[in-house]
């Protein structure tokens, strides 16, 4: 995977994870253009498209679009499963996740993503293990913060 973007129906970016080295300016341009392209697509259209020289896989969950750019040899259908798995993880963690959870706890969304994917590939295929790791890390964070400084 080259990058993953989460954005709202109004085109506001909620999460951006880049696995390829690009400057801030380049990232902004790509995000802007890609978001426009995807928002312009009709609901019944297929989840895959070729954009520039990338394969894009996207899916809409309620008010959020989850969009990944994958390599040529990557299996698009399993990428949809990856996206779905991430949503399930968020759902389990936040308890019935909604966009607001991701807005107000964006750093947690990143932490969860980083326990699921590394360098653009899945590092753990067990939902239970990912959530357990996050739980432990959160605990560690709690312990290390005395007094409570963060959030």
């Amino acid at each position: 995977m080259q990058f993953m973007l989460l954005f709202s129906r109004q085109g506001k970016l909620r999460l951006q994870k880049w696995y390829v080295p690009l400057s801030d300016k380049e990232r902004k341009k790509i995000s802007r253009d890609l978001v426009q392209t995807i928002l312009a697509r009709k609901p019944k259209m297929c989840s895959f498209l070729e954009w520039r020289d990338l394969k894009i896989v996207y899916k809409r969950y309620a008010s959020l679009y989850f969009c990944c750019a994958v390599e040529d040899q990557d299996n698009e259908l399993i990428t949809l499963e990856i996206i779905h798995r991430y949503v399930e993880l968020l759902d389990k963690y936040f308890g019935s996740v909604c966009e607001l959870d991701i807005i107000f706890n964006f750093e947690k969304a990143y932490f969860i993503l980083d326990e699921f994917l590394l360098g653009g590939e899945a590092q753990e295929t067990s939902k239970k293990n990912v959530l357990k790791a996050i739980e432990q890390a959160d605990l560690l964070q709690e312990v290390s913060q005395t007094p409570k400084i963060f959030t």
Binding site: K12, L13, R14, L15, Q16, W18, Y19, P21, S23, D24, K28, K42, K44, M45, C46, S47, F48, L49, E50, Q73, N75, E76, L77, I78, L80, E81, I82, R85, I103, F104, F106, E107, Y110, F111, D114, E115, L118, G119, E121, A122, Q123, E124, T125, S126, K127, K128, N129, A133, Q136, A137, L140, Q141, V143, S144, Q145, I149, F150, T151
Partner: protein, 782 residues
């Protein structure tokens, strides 16, 4: 200074902003506060401040002043700090800036930290954004962690190694020992990441690939266990056990089995098993099937398996889920070359996909349809494709039009069908056809000799409807100029002839000249067409008037043409008929494949290669002048030598061969001249469409010891008939009958007397001779 506001608080505040300006103001205020906090080296709240900065960065505001702070957080001992610090590094730091190198030492320390979650953070950051320098420095640490028994760390180290290898391929060797027992792990996370690592190594190095082939049995076993094992809640997705791992294993098997018989055989059974047993009701099952199909098609699988794979794709095509259909079309496109027949079976489903609403699916279906067109299905397929051309989006039209032309050229069942198809494309997508298709179409039309009347009539009717599509207009005006006489004569066999007067035709062409829709190129075509009609129509005066008007046109190209045509009317009126007569059939140019002499109606008329753009009608007047001077004084019609590029010598050989084989027209050849070792033979054919024209090919051979150079053959004929001399194959007649020079003459009604003049240089001295050829066979002028 009061404590900086909390992250959530800030988020809440910013979201209350009602305008962009308000938001910007809030952000600026907060940034200022954060900056001063950074300046004060406040350790306590650094973490909170950086987190806020990251939020603002996501909204699109600059946050580069937080980069160093991230580094400080990473260096901190507190886990919270590290967590936010590494996150900030991944979001804000760019490997192109040297700042990121400062991270290296921290990461190195954290890779050896006592807490696995800290080690995890370090591995994650390195594996996500490590630059080549960092990777070089830290590869050793990663390699160490790849051998640990801690599966939490091992899986991360594996993916980190993948990143290192991508950045610094030379380091791949160093990870080889650690891969020894990766696949014996029970932990799925480690298994998955190990397979990814092995895949990366095999893709990059043929040596590694050969080395890892021995893992095929083990991989097959793991896959088998996944499929056969019972329900495992931890890895289950809709009834399938760890689909992610299955897909990755299938992909690795694909790489290992490619071009290797033994490996392919070893995986044959498991592939068949996966292909037949996987549940297809959900996307996840189809994802596995998809990967299986890709693998089957790429390795050296037996034909039964391949057919199974194509059938799976065929079933995919019928799936309601358009993602599945898309994936099927993509895969079929890849396999259509190798397994053509199998894919043909699904042709009708593929053609149905042309009507899909999704753009990507339509494009795939179009490409696949063109790949499937053959001699048997051309009529049906073309109907569908033309219908598609009518209704598709503009982005497809150019490609579709080109595809239709190519397919029509290859498989047209009849000339009429071919012309009709071209007409259909021109009228429906006329403005999208590529520029080079105009000359190609013109060449095609000239070749379909018996369809000329039908073609020009249809094109004329199309012009009446619509003059906006330039390629259509250009082809139409060229045809009208060429075959206008057929148009007004009302002779059309293929369909109901229309009644058109000369004036009406000229109206249309003049309309093109003045219309704003016409491009300069189109205007050029129109003017030339009008000029050509001067020898085909009787309303010459009208044409003269039009041409003279354009002599002062602003467009230089038009002006030049008009001036030259005017000159033709005024000073060289006698040359006009010959100059503007019907074009000979054009030879296909090399761009479309080997040069062929186009055979139509059994005639092989060798003709020179036509330049691609508007046919050159204007001959430089000087050349004609020279000839006049040479033969001046005689009461003869001067010979017009059409200036066409001479053919390469090899083509001369082809001509000879072809002509040698033919004895079509039944007119016996004759020897026209035989003197001083130079022998000239004439062979005859009848021209098409005008059988009154005899096509004579002269063959000059030389039986002396020295070759004859600068050989020029010229013919002059009495006023009663016309003659056209084409370019000779060469100017050198080789000695001792080693070869011949050929030249084609087109003569209207050759009769008993004809004068020919020969000049050549033999053994250094020029020779000139005048001969009378009067032994034409009787058949040649009847």
């Amino acid at each position: 200074m009061p404590a900086p506001i909390r992250l959530r608080e800030l988020i809440r505040t910013i979201r209350t902003a009602r305008t962009q300006a308000e938001e910007r103001e809030m952000i600026q205020k907060e940034c200022a506060a954060i900056r001063s906090s950074f300046r004060e080296e406040d350790n306590t709240y650094r973490c909170r401040n950086v987190a806020k900065l990251l939020y603002m960065h996501m909204l699109g505001y600059p946050a580069h002043f937080g980069q160093l702070e991230c580094l400080k957080l990473i260096a901190s001992q507190k886990f919270t700090d590290k967590r936010i610090g590494y996150l900030g590094a991944m979001l804000l730091l760019d490997e192109r800036q040297d700042v990121h190198l400062l991270m290296t030492n921290c990461i190195k320390n954290d890779l050896n930290h006592s807490t696995q979650y800290v080690q995890g953070l370090a591995l994650c950051t390195l594996g996500c954004m490590g630059s080549s320098e960092m990777c070089r420095d830290l590869a050793g640490e990663v390699e160490k962690l790849l051998k640990t028994s801690n599966s939490y760390l091992r899986k991360k180290a594996a993916l980190c190694a993948v990143h290192v290898i991508r950045k610094v391929p030379e380091l791949m060797e160093m990870f080889l020992p650690a891969t020894k027992n990766l696949l014996s792990e029970k932990n799925h996370g480690v298994l998955h990441t190990s397979v990814v690592l092995l895949t990366e190594m095999c893709e990059r190095s043929p040596d590694m690939l050969a080395h890892f082939r021995k893992l095929v049995p083990q991989l097959v076993r793991i896959l088998k266990n996944l499929i056969m094992s019972g329900y495992s809640p931890e890895h289950d997705v809709s009834g399938i056990s760890d689909p992610f791992l299955q897909v990755r294993i299938l992909r690795l098997l694909r790489i290992l089995g490619k071009s290797d018989d033994d490996s392919s055989e070893a995986m044959n059974d498991i592939l068949a098993q996966v292909a037949t047993n996987t549940e297809t009701s959900k996307n996840v099952g189809n994802a596995i099937l998809y990967e299986t199909v890709l693998t089957i098609m790429d390795i050296k699988s037996e034909s039964g398996l391949r057919v199974l794979a194509i059938n799976i794709l065929g079933r995919f095509l019928l799936n309601n889920d358009k993602n599945i259909r898309y994936v099927a079309l993509t895969s079929l496109l890849k396999t259509v070359q190798t397994d053509h027949n199998a894919v043909q079976r699904h042709r009708s489903t593929i053609v149905d996909c042309l009507k899909d609403l999704d753009v990507s699916i339509k494009r795939r279906a179009m490409e696949l349809s063109f790949a499937l067109v053959n001699g048997n299905n051309i009529r049906g397929m073309m109907k569908e494709l033309l219908y598609f051309l009518d209704s598709c989006d503009p982005e497809f039209k150019a490609d579709c039009a080109s595809g239709v032309f190519l397919a029509a050229e290859k498989y047209a069942p009849s000339k009429r069908w071919h012309i009709d198809t071209i007409m259909r494309v021109l009228t429906t997508a006329g403005s999208y056809v590529r520029d080079d298709s105009v000359p190609n179409l013109i060449q095609l039309i000239t070749n379909s000799v018996e369809m000329h009347a039908y073609t020009v009539q249809r094109l004329y009717k199309a012009l009446l409807d619509d003059i906006s599509q330039q390629p259509l207009v250009q082809v139409a005006s060229w045809c009208i100029g060429e075959y206008g006489d057929l148009l007004v004569s009302g002779q059309c066999e293929e369909e109901e002839p229309i009644q058109v007067t000369e004036d009406e035709v000229l109206d249309v062409l003049e309309g093109l000249l003045v219309s704003n829709l016409s491009t300069p190129v189109t205007r050029g075509y129109a003017l030339t067409a009008i000029m050509k009609l001067s020898t085909r129509f009787s309303s010459v005066n009208r044409i003269k008037k039009v041409v003279s008007i354009y002599g002062s046109s602003i467009d230089v190209e038009l002006q030049q043409r008009a001036v030259e045509y005017n000159a033709l009317f005024k000073k060289y009126d006698h040359m006009r008929p010959a100059l503007l007569e019907r074009m000979p059939i054009m030879e296909k140019t090399a761009t479309n494949g080997p040069t062929e002499i186009v055979q139509t109606n059994g005639e092989t008329e060798p003709s020179a290669v036509e330049p691609k753009h508007p046919p050159p009608v204007t001959q430089p007047a000087n050349q004609a002048n020279d000839l006049l001077d040479l033969l001046g004084g005689n009461d003869v019609v001067p010979v017009i030598q059409t200036t066409m590029p001479t053919k390469p010598a090899s083509a001369g050989g082809e001509l000879l061969d072809l002509l040698g084989d033919l004895s079509l027209s039944g007119i016996p050849p004759m020897t026209a001249y035989n003197k001083n070792g130079l022998k000239i033979d004439f062979t005859f054919e009848r021209a098409n469409p005008n059988p009154n024209i005899a096509v004579i090919t002269i063959h000059a051979s030389n039986s002396t010891e020295a070759e004859m150079t600068d050989f020029v053959f010229q013919a002059a004929v009495p006023k009663t008939f016309q003659l056209q001399l084409l370019s000779p194959s060469s100017n050198v007649v080789p000695a001792l009958n080693q070869g011949t020079v050929t030249q084609v003459i087109r003569v209207l009604n050759p009769q008993k007397v004809s004068l020919s003049m020969l000049t050549y240089t033999h053994k250094g001295s020029p020779v000139q001779d005048l001969a009378e050829v009067n032994n034409f066979p009787p058949q040649s002028w009847q």
